[in-house]
């Protein structure tokens, strides 16, 4: 007994410092590559700094004021619209498909799953390139296909009324697979007894979905939606590849706006200010996500 206690005591002591040795490399790397650049960026957001002129004076909240007075309102609105449309459509499509795939006797389930999840790892830039070709107004196959239905050719990414919708379509094509995987895995790990009990009690499909499946799935759904929302808020690749924010500013998101300020107008101070506002929104959502995860 005494021997074990001593051993445990010694082991405990060793554990005490060893755990910090284990954490140290990651902590050091993240401090150097994340925390330090982040602080530098905060500092930059309070400076007047245009690359071609070099570092100027302390700007106070000047950069924040100018971007808020300038395009920040419109790019936030686009970002919100885009995030809302993409996440909502992707959720309903993915949840619907997941429910269909989770039916007890469904021939071909594996076949459908394999195909529907294929886009999950694909390079967004490559997907964007693929759809740019297909939606090309003069050479793309889409205009030819809708021509067969008697619809006149459209400008798609170049049409102010269609650009946002077309971007949403490409995003849904790309990202639904990830949501489908998470929701389908959630349905699979759901306890089946309540569903069976409800069925025996004579509940119909809709009632089972509304009063049994939905409440049981709520935590998984919340987490899935939040993760997807955070990702959508910072999305950049598709906009860069498909529209560059155009036509006009119809599809310009916060991320792309920060990119344009920093790397086209070379105004680092303002770009840093925009990106920092975006970061605050994302961190708020992440904290909310953590709270949801902890409650479950």
């Amino acid at each position: 007994m005494t021997v074990t206690t001593t051993l445990n005591h010694q082991a405990g002591k060793r554990r005490n410092w060893a755990q910090y040795v284990f954490l140290a490399p990651t902590a050091i790397v993240l401090t150097l590559v994340v925390a330090a650049p982040l602080l530098y960026s905060v500092y930059l957001s309070f400076q007047t700094y245009i690359i071609t002129y070099g570092m100027g004076d302390f700007a106070g909240f000047g950069n924040y004021q100018s971007v808020l007075a300038d395009d920040f309102g419109s790019v936030s609105w686009v970002t919100l619209k885009l995030t809302f449309l993409c996440v909502t459509i992707e959720f309903f499509v993915a949840f619907g498909l997941a429910l269909l795939l989770n039916q007890p006797h469904l021939p071909g389930r594996q076949f459908y799953l394999i195909i529907l999840l294929t886009p999950i790892l694909m390079t967004p830039v490559a997907i964007a390139l693929m759809f740019r070709l297909m939606f090309n107004p003069s050479l793309g196959i889409v205009n030819w296909l809708i021509g067969g239905l008697g619809i006149p050719p459209q400008g798609w990414f170049g049409d102010p009324h269609l650009a946002l919708g077309t971007v949403v379509f490409v995003d849904v094509w790309t990202e639904t697979s990830m949501m489908l995987l998470m929701l389908y895995a959630g349905l699979k790990s759901m306890p089946m007894e309540p569903v069976e009990a409800a069925r025996i009690d004579g509940a119909n499909r809709f009632h089972i979905l509304r009063y049994v499946v939905w409440p049981l799935m709520r935590p998984v759904i919340m987490v899935t939606l939040l993760i997807r929302m955070i990702a959508a808020l910072k999305s950049y690749d598709l906009i860069y590849m498909l529209t560059q924010g155009g036509p006009g500013k119809e599809t310009e998101t916060i991320s792309f706006y920060a990119y344009r300020l920093g790397f086209r107008f070379l105004d680092i101070g303002q770009a840093a200010a925009v990106s920092f506002i975006l970061l605050i929104v994302v961190i708020a959502l992440t904290l909310f996500l953590l709270r949801v995860m902890r409650e479950n």
Binding site: V29, P124, M130, A185
Partner: protein
């Protein structure tokens, strides 16, 4: 009753079939167009029957230097993944088993992983110019650690959580040291998880675009950046664009088929259950 369920099944197949077609058809279209010659590529309505040619692939491999970009992507993704796996799994072990650093550490890790890349690319751009890391593999590897390392730590935490604690306790009583427990007990038990984390982090690096766009140069361009530059020439080279799209997507599709089972375990557990 039987009639109803038959109807439901019929409708299910209709919906699932349509969705599957929507996923497959664009991919098949790009695949088809990558094998046609210039004249056919421009023809609308499209020819369904044509003589396949490898000219597009030859063009991008020989003239476009596709191999170099492919290799850049491979080197950067592999090195980043190895570093993240080694130091990330050590950290995940400490955090999961001993709550090292207190409750704030997991929060910080998750917040880091969620960070928009545009926030970091601005300071990196300035710093790298000053210290000479712009247009180097090392520079991109450093920036890729910013999202990869927290991702790996987060995934590994969820995998270690599933290794029963009794195993470490028993080994400690048998006289194993802290590292011994990690090496002989935890790692082997979590091996499939490490595999999943490795593959997923590789994919994350492979697909990354913004950092590579801003911080790489002619020598270090990764595949996504290289093919994004084809957009400007798309009017002239539909076939080449399709061929490079196919070659960029192909490794991901192969990985997808190879690790489908791991993927479900890795993503659903890592992401949903935290």
């Amino acid at each position: 009753m039987i009639g109803e369920s038959r109807w439901v099944q019929w409708a299910s197949h209709l919906i699932l079939g349509t969705a599957s077609a929507l996923v497959l058809l664009p991919l098949l279209w790009v695949l088809r167009t990558s094998f046609v010659d210039k004249v056919v590529a421009y023809r609308m309505p499209p020819d369904l029957f044509f003589t396949p040619t490898l000219d597009n692939y030859r063009a991008i491999l020989l003239e476009f230097d596709f191999g170099t970009f492919f290799l850049n992507s491979l080197i950067i993704a592999l090195v980043t993944t190895v570093i993240a796996l080694v130091i990330g799994s050590l950290a995940a072990y400490a955090i999961d088993r001993f709550r090292t650093g207190g409750p704030v550490v997991p929060v910080a890790i998750l917040a880091t992983q969620m960070m928009p890349p545009i926030v970091l690319v601005i300071p990196f751009f300035l710093i790298f110019k000053r210290v000479g890391l712009a247009d180097t593999h090392a520079g991109l590897i450093i920036t890729y650690l910013t999202f990869n390392l927290p991702y790996v730590v987060w995934l590994m935490m969820s995998f270690f959580k599933r290794v029963p604690r009794e195993l470490d306790e028993a080994a400690l009583i048998d006289g194993a040291g802290f590292f011994g427990v990690f090496w002989h007990i935890i790692l082997p038990a979590a091996l499939p998880g490490i595999g999943a984390a490795g593959v997923l982090s590789f994919v994350l690096c492979w697909n990354e675009f913004l950092f590579a766009l801003m911080l790489s140069g002619q020598e270090t361009k990764t595949l996504p950046v290289a093919i994004s530059s084809l957009v400007t020439q798309q009017g002239t080279a539909i076939g080449a664009v399709c061929a490079s799209t196919v070659l960029a997507i192909a490794p991901m599709v192969i990985i997808y088929f190879a690790i489908r089972k791991l993927l479900v375990a890795g993503l659903s557990l890592g992401a949903v259950k935290g």
